[in-house]
């Protein structure tokens, strides 16, 4: 599929906002959904809706087959060894919280360390802060290079034999940095720690092979990769998941329930207490089908070309400061002169252009960058060079507008 063909699959993009054609540059917050995903959800609710793993009726079987079929699609998408390693949860945040509370509480003690970085999203900071508080463990940060990358020698120096968990984002939602997860995982393992990866900004955009990365846990959300909200994945190595206690207890996840004791289902279901996110998982499956039809090499190529072009054009705008390294994923975070990012986003919105403004759920990183907030344009497969051109025009308008009112 070429870019224009891909764009046609996203009906939401064909509209005017404030009298101008919509230019959606906020996919790092959430992506838009292709017609195939929307129709899959529609079909499921109109034809197959039923609870899963129980009852013997036909709809129940259809729903179960589709739900478990989606799990196999996810397994293949991230190259996990088995479907037992693919747990459906609410999203990246829930997955990391589950890892912190279930694996963390059982394996981290007073003299231990948890290692993260200052570039993490709040959802990969606070669960570890809480775990550190509850266990008395020490929370340590790998320092960042000036350009917002991680140097492996700093990783070597921060992780010690006391480190039990290393948790790092695969791709930064602010800087666009692509972190060397495979190398960091090696250092973590050498010291006896497990490697947790926040893959929220990576899974939608690039090849993710959990076996090649050799990470122990990998978390991501469907809504950033053309799927619905409210569903995400916690991947974990089977031998770790087997020894973990469920984080939630109730229906669906039990094997036998007595008055005083109960036992759990096997993997992956012991982590999926309650009626699972059935439609969400099926929607995620459709999103994976869509992305695989385009091909991840092609997705990487489209985004690479877009971000290169955006960097080139944005660098030429006077007074515009870009944050993050040269080599980056498909997003550009910036500030413009003295105009507050909120004001930038408001003027751009009046031009039909949607960007994110704020701290991007990364307050420690904002502090590290020495700014209170930034604006961010993030790209996905349906964006075009014309979108970048519209952004540049919008930024010029912003400058003119605030130059004029000052």
């Amino acid at each position: 599929m070429i870019s224009k063909e891909i764009r046609k699959q996203f009906p939401i993009l064909d509209q005017e906002v404030n009298g101008k054609p919509l230019v959606y540059l906020d996919s790092a917050a959430t992506s838009q959904k292709p017609i195939s995903v929307i129709e899959t959800l529609d079909h499921y609710y109109k034809n197959d809706n039923s609870n899963v793993h129980r009852g013997v009726h036909t709809l129940g079987t259809r729903a179960t087959d589709s739900y478990e079929g989606a799990r196999e699609k996810v397994r293949h998408f991230i190259n996990a060894s088995s479907m037992e390693e693919v747990i459906f949860l609410r999203g990246t945040t829930t997955a990391i919280n589950t890892i912190a509370s279930s694996y963390g509480r059982a394996n981290v003690g007073e003299d231990d360390e948890i290692v993260i970085t200052p570039m993490e999203h709040h959802s990969n900071i606070i669960p570890w802060q809480q775990l550190a508080k509850q266990t008395g463990a020490k929370l340590k940060y790998i320092p960042l290079q000036e350009d917002g990358t991680i140097d492996l020698s700093d990783v070597e120096n921060t992780i010690t034999e006391h480190t039990k968990i290393v948790s790092i984002m695969h791709v930064s939602n602010v800087l666009g940095t692509i972190n060397p997860i495979k190398e960091i995982a090696k250092i973590a393992h050498k010291n006896g720690a497990v490697m947790v990866v926040d893959g929220a900004q990576a899974a939608p955009h690039m090849h993710v092979d959990v076996r090649d990365l050799d990470c122990d846990f990998y978390a991501f959300s469907a809504h950033k990769m053309c799927g619905p909200t409210g569903i995400g994945v916690m991947y974990g190595k089977k031998k770790l998941l087997e020894n973990m206690e469920p984080a939630e207890f109730g229906g669906e996840m039990i094997d036998f329930v007595g008055l005083y004791e109960s036992t759990w289902k096997d993997l992956p279901w012991k982590f999926e207490g309650g009626t699972p996110i059935i439609a969400g998982a099926i929607g995620l499956g459709a999103a994976i089908d869509f992305l695989e039809q385009i091909g991840r090499d092609e997705i990487e190529k489209i985004e690479h070309e877009l971000v290169e072009y955006a960097m080139e054009r944005m660098s030429a705008v006077e007074g515009l400061k870009i944050f993050g390294p040269e080599k980056r994923a498909g997003l550009v975070t910036f500030n413009i002169d003295d105009v507050h990012p909120h004001d930038v986003a408001t003027v751009l919105d009046a031009e039909g252009i949607a960007v994110r403004a704020g701290h991007h759920c990364a307050q420690p990183l904002m502090k590290w960058l020495d700014v209170t907030a930034t604006a961010r344009a993030s790209f996905y497969i349906y964006n075009t060079k014309e979108d970048v051109d519209a952004l540049i025009d919008g930024l010029k308008t912003t400058k003119e507008y605030f130059g004029h009112v000052f």
């Binding site: 404030n18 009298g19 507050h340 990012p341 909120h342 004001d343 408001t346 003027v347 919105d349 009046a350 403004a357 704020g358 701290h359 307050q363 904002m366 209170t372 907030a373 308008t397 507008y401 009112v405 000052f406």
Partner: protein
Amino acid sequence: MSSNLDQLYRQVIMDHYKNPRNRGELDGALTFNLNNPTCGDRIKVSMEIEDGKIKEAKFEGEGCSISLASASMMTETIKGLPVEDALKLSNIFSEMMLGKEYDEGDLDLGDLEALQGVSKFPARIKCATLAWKALEKGVNQKEEE
């Protein structure tokens, strides 16, 4: 440029943003910090209250044009007012932000009226009310003491 934007960024607002009035902090006065968690804006309002009147008011903080201009205008307007009237103004200001009809009565919104255009930008209402929320919290806290 759209006229809506011009309604949002009125000249008087930009003037307060560029030349904020009453910027700073009052020693030993009642101070209250408030953050806008969606964007990281941070406003600190400090007030000297004597005999139920706001004798002096200052603000400090980081934020967008709307939040800083609103704070600047607020300190101008509430200075010298009885606390009760400042709270009344806060309510009137909230009504104005929601695009509702409001009645100033004997009170005077002054420059604050220029912020009326914010009501057409729902995403920015929180920016405009940040300083006011700090004022309300500060006053309520003092009453509890």
